[in-house]
């Protein structure tokens, strides 16, 4: 089977199976086995089969394209464009494959599966866009989701029977007692998997948006899983509303894109009659123009609408005669040279990035993610660390060809700020899950930063490695919480003796996230991805000293902070003597079904970053980085138009030895510093953190209160909103209601009058009729004699009469 036909089917199956599982659980969930336990099996098997399909398609991809990216032509600047040149014609021809030319392998498959509707030029379709990134994402998401499903079977077993929620106190003083919601949890998980995979599978931005919102609603459901808890429902609302803010920007971006380009599709889609509809990518970066970023014609035309109208007036006649159109077209290049339309492109990019900011919890919309930890831990592991929050990063990666350098700079700054703020907060947090949540935010900032400085592979590579180790960390923390029934690290300690598997898998996760490894030789997955980011930041700072230095130091400092808070976490939880003996005595290792996925994920977290060396037989070059390299968008990122002097270096430049070594040394040494600091404070307990706390009391408080973001937002947005609502309530209650009440009073009086008419006049008439009918009926009643024979006689008389009539009628 052709790869072009196979991949959509395999990935489509992986995508749709969770939907089937969701539907079945919605319909029959409570009846699946005892207390709906079958729902978990259904959901797990659905995503497991999906994982098989995804991995199979990954193997197919490797089998077809090899492990390494396509050869680059002699390090030329246009090397990428070179192979991308082959890419886009292949795209435009759908799935044409010319095996003769090595360079012309299609790197992406896109096509419409089903047209939902066509409104003029607006075509809403279900389509797919599959390249190496898609395949890699599928493999990652389904694998982690499968592990988490298994894990959740164990973690959520409390929900199999009636639950008494000790965190909810009812008005009568009792704790809430409710039936278990086991099946519902898996129902949401399935829906989430479907949505997430659909988001990755999607071939157009409209479909992306739909699934974007779907993952949002799933997140909402899952955060609010313990809906009775005030904090949980608040957190769910917060997540949803904050995301709306970002999505608003995203809609603006979508509109700008569609208004300018007239399409939602990513790649060029060939429809049934061979007509090629050019997608966003090829319109923004025209293959004929060497994949250079340029404002497309549509954007230029709409930006220069003054001039367009002028030309239209000059050519009398209706509806833009051909002469006017050709005139306009002929002047488009000159307008473009004047940067008409470039702003539109920037707006589109920033708008789309807004959506990503919301979803990926970037500054200033990062506030929802820590609160989202109210959801069950498997949810945190799957949704709020590994997949959904990474969707924003994924989308930025996917749209990188569309982003102008200015947009990228915005992205980089956003990521940079996020990275720093989140890392600082994570240092002081004591809730184990919150630490991880801020860590997640911080790492997402890393990714954004990487993408913003042009490190396409670096950012997405970190996305994938982070997904593994962060989900691992979350699941380990879940295991700890499961064992201790508390989130507070201050009550833990020494748990590694009680739960070794959890402790050491978590250690693997910590090592992975801080990027531990033997420099220049081998390391955990984070070692590779973080190195790549730091290297790219360094490379960028060489090209743009002004911005670049900020980014580089943020990245390096972030590495140090990461190492510190992660090992702070690990030491506080697992090392040293126990702080709370009651909790310690009751702690126990989690069941097999929970710690086995941990082991699987630990293996992946450790190894996923490695690239098999080239000299290794058969598997040489196997690695995520090379896989992502195959999906790298064509064309250079270029230079800023609005901001002169903003230049983006090729990502390959960061592989240069000088940069690479420098970056590795920086990253490793800072991480080591952070690690040592944490060891001194928490592992060996040579220094007392409380002293430091007192010394830096204002800073500590500032960080403990999360930079007062929630208070700030409360003051800026929530309070004014409450005030406006109060005003509106006043108007509603006093003015409008009063008016309506008076109206009603009048209507009542009128109705009373009407009632009199009704009762005496209308009813009188009706009663009179009824009385007449009644008397008529009783007088006619005597005709009904009950004599059968009489009836027969009458029938016969009627028959004869009828015959007579007919006879006369026909005689006439």
């Amino acid at each position: 089977m052709e790869l072009s036909a196979l991949l959509p089917i395999l990935l489509g199956i992986a995508w749709l199976l969770p939907l089937a599982s969701f539907t079945l659980i919605v319909l029959f969930g409570p009846r699946m086995g005892k207390h709906g336990v079958g729902a978990s099996y259904l959901a797990t098997s659905a995503i497991a089969i999906g994982a098989l399909c995804s991995w199979f398609s990954l193997f197919c991809w490797f089998g077809h394209y090899g492990f390494k990216p396509a050869e680059h032509g002699a390090g030329s600047q246009f090397a990428a464009a070179d192979h991308a040149e082959a890419l886009t014609p292949a795209l435009s021809q759908g799935e044409k494959e010319t095996a003769t030319d090595h360079e012309s392998y299609p790197r992406a498959y896109t096509n419409d599966l089903y047209t939902l509707g066509q409104f003029g030029s607006l075509k809403i379709t279900i389509s797919y866009y599959i390249d190496a990134l898609t395949v890699g994402m599928f493999a990652m998401v389904t694998l982690i989701a499968t592990c988490i499903h298994f894990y959740a079977i164990g973690y959520m077993h409390d929900e199999l029977h009636d639950v008494t929620d000790h965190e909810v106190t009812l008005s009568d003083g009792h704790h809430l007692h409710r039936p278990g919601r086991f099946h519902r949890f898996f129902q949401y998980l399935s829906l989430f998997c479907f949505s997430m995979l659909g988001l990755v599978y999607a071939g157009n931005i409209a479909m992306v948006f739909v699934f974007w919102e779907l993952v949002g609603i799933c997140s909402y459901f899952l955060i609010g899983f313990y809906i009775e808890r005030k904090s949980a429902s608040n957190a769910a609302n917060k997540a949803f509303i904050v995301n709306r803010v970002g999505d608003f920007g995203m809609i603006i971006g979508l509109m700008a894109l569609w208004g300018g380009l007239g399409t939602f599709a990513f790649g060029d889609v060939t429809d049934a009659d061979g007509k090629v509809e050019r997608g966003i990518f090829s319109q923004v970066r025209d293959p004929a123009n060497g994949y250079a970023l340029a404002a497309p014609d549509g954007m230029v035309r709409s930006a220069a609408f003054d001039a367009v109208e002028e030309i239209a007036f000059e050519h009398p006649g209706r509806l833009m005669p051909g002469a006017a159109a050709s005139e306009i077209n002929s002047r488009i290049p000159s307008w473009r040279a004047d940067h008409y339309g470039y702003w539109l492109l920037v707006i589109a990019g920033v708008g789309i990035f807004c959506g990503c900011v919301g979803k990926s919890a970037q500054f200033p919309l990062h506030v929802w993610l820590p609160d989202a930890m109210e959801g069950p831990t498997p949810v945190s592991a799957l949704v709020h660390s590994a997949t959904m929050v990474a969707a924003g990063v994924y989308l930025v990666g996917r749209f990188l060809p569309v982003f102008a350098p200015e947009v990228l700079l915005v992205i980089a700054y956003t990521g940079c700020i996020t990275l720093f703020i989140a890392a600082t907060i994570a240092i002081t947090a004591t809730d184990i899950k919150r630490v991880l949540a801020y860590s997640t935010v911080s790492q997402l900032g890393y990714m954004m930063l990487a993408l913003g400085v042009g490190g396409w592979v670096a950012g997405l590579f970190h996305l994938i490695t982070h997904a593994f180790f962060k989900s691992l960390l979350f699941m380990c923390s879940g295991s700890v919480i499961h064992a201790t029934h508390t989130n507070e690290m201050t009550k833990m300690g020494g748990l590694r003796k009680k739960m070794p598997v959890t402790a050491y898998t978590m250690l693997v996760g910590c090592l992975a996230i801080i990027g531990a490894g033997i420099p220049f030789l081998i390391g955990f997955s984070g070692y590779y991805s973080k190195d790549a980011i730091v290297a790219q930041a360094l490379s960028f700072s060489l090209a743009n000293p002004l911005h670049g230095a900020v980014f580089f130091y943020a990245a390096v400092g972030g590495a140090a902070m990461t190492a510190f808070y992660m090992f702070r976490l690990w030491y506080m939880t697992f090392a040293g003597p126990p702080r709370d003996h009651h909790i310690y005595d009751h702690a126990h290792e989690s069941p097999k079904i929970m710690y086995r996925p941990l082991i699987v994920l630990a293996v992946f977290a450790a190894l996923v970053g490695c690239t098999v060396p080239d000299w290794f037989p058969a598997l040489g070059g196997l690695g995520v980085q090379n896989l992502l390299e195959q999906a790298r968008p064509a064309g250079e990122l270029g230079e800023g138009v609005l901001m002169a002097g903003l230049a983006y270096p090729e990502e390959h430049a960061s592989h240069a030895h000088s940069i690479h070594v420098q970056a590795t040394v920086y990253a490793f040494s800072t991480a080591l510093g952070g690690f040592l600091l944490a060891t001194v404070f928490y592992g060996l307990r040579w220094l007392n953190p409380a002293d430091v706390k007192q010394q830096f009391f204002p800073v500590y408080n500032f960080l403990l209160n999360k930079w007062y973001f929630d208070e700030l937002y409360d003051f800026l947005f929530v309070k004014p909103a409450h005030f406006v609502a109060f005003l509106i309530t006043f108007v509603d209650r006093r003015l409008i209601d009063g008016f309506i009440d008076n109206l009603a009073r009048w209507a009542r009086k009128l109705a009373h009058f009407d009632d009199l008419i009704d009762r005496y006049f209308v009813d009188g008439l009706v009663n009179l009729t009824a009385a007449w009918t009644y008397s008529l009926g009783s007088s006619l009643r005597s005709l009904q004699t009950g004599r059968l024979r009489q009836y027969v006689m009458l029938i016969v008389i009627g028959l004869v009469a009828l015959s007579v009539l007919i006879n006369f009628a026909s005689a006439r």
Binding site: L783, Q784, T785, G786, R787, L788, R789, V792, M793, V796
Partner: protein, 110 residues
């Protein structure tokens, strides 16, 4: 008289029909009424069958064809059903009133 045609059959049918009607109208015995109904149905059947015949008319194409016989068959079958139910009703009536006089069955008169 010769040749025999549909008209003759229909005359027979008419006579049976009228006899049946008179039977229904005059008999006080419920079963007599029932017999009258049977006669009426048979009179109709004679007509149907005659009209379905090919050689009782100079223009068979305008006849009913086999459809007439189909209808006759259905009439026969339904008459059987009707007789069964009518008999059951009559017996019930007889059980309850100890008579089969239809003139006595006038409890629902106005």
């Amino acid at each position: 008289m010769e040749p025999v045609g549909i008209s003759h059959f229909m005359t027979v049918g008419a006579i049976m029909f009228v006899c049946g009607v008179v039977c229904m109208a005059t008999k006080r015995n419920a079963l007599g009424v029932l017999m009258g109904i049977e006669l009426v149905l048979n009179g109709a059947n004679v007509n149907f069958v005659a009209l379905s015949s090919d050689f009782l008319t100079t223009n068979p194409a305008r006849g009913l064809g086999l459809d007439g016989q189909f209808i006759a068959l259905f009439v026969i079958v339904l008459a059987a059903a009707e007789a069964a139910v009518a008999l059951a009703i009559t017996l019930n009536f007889y059980n309850n009133h100890s008579t089969v006089d239809v003139d006595r069955a006038d409890e629902l008169k106005g």
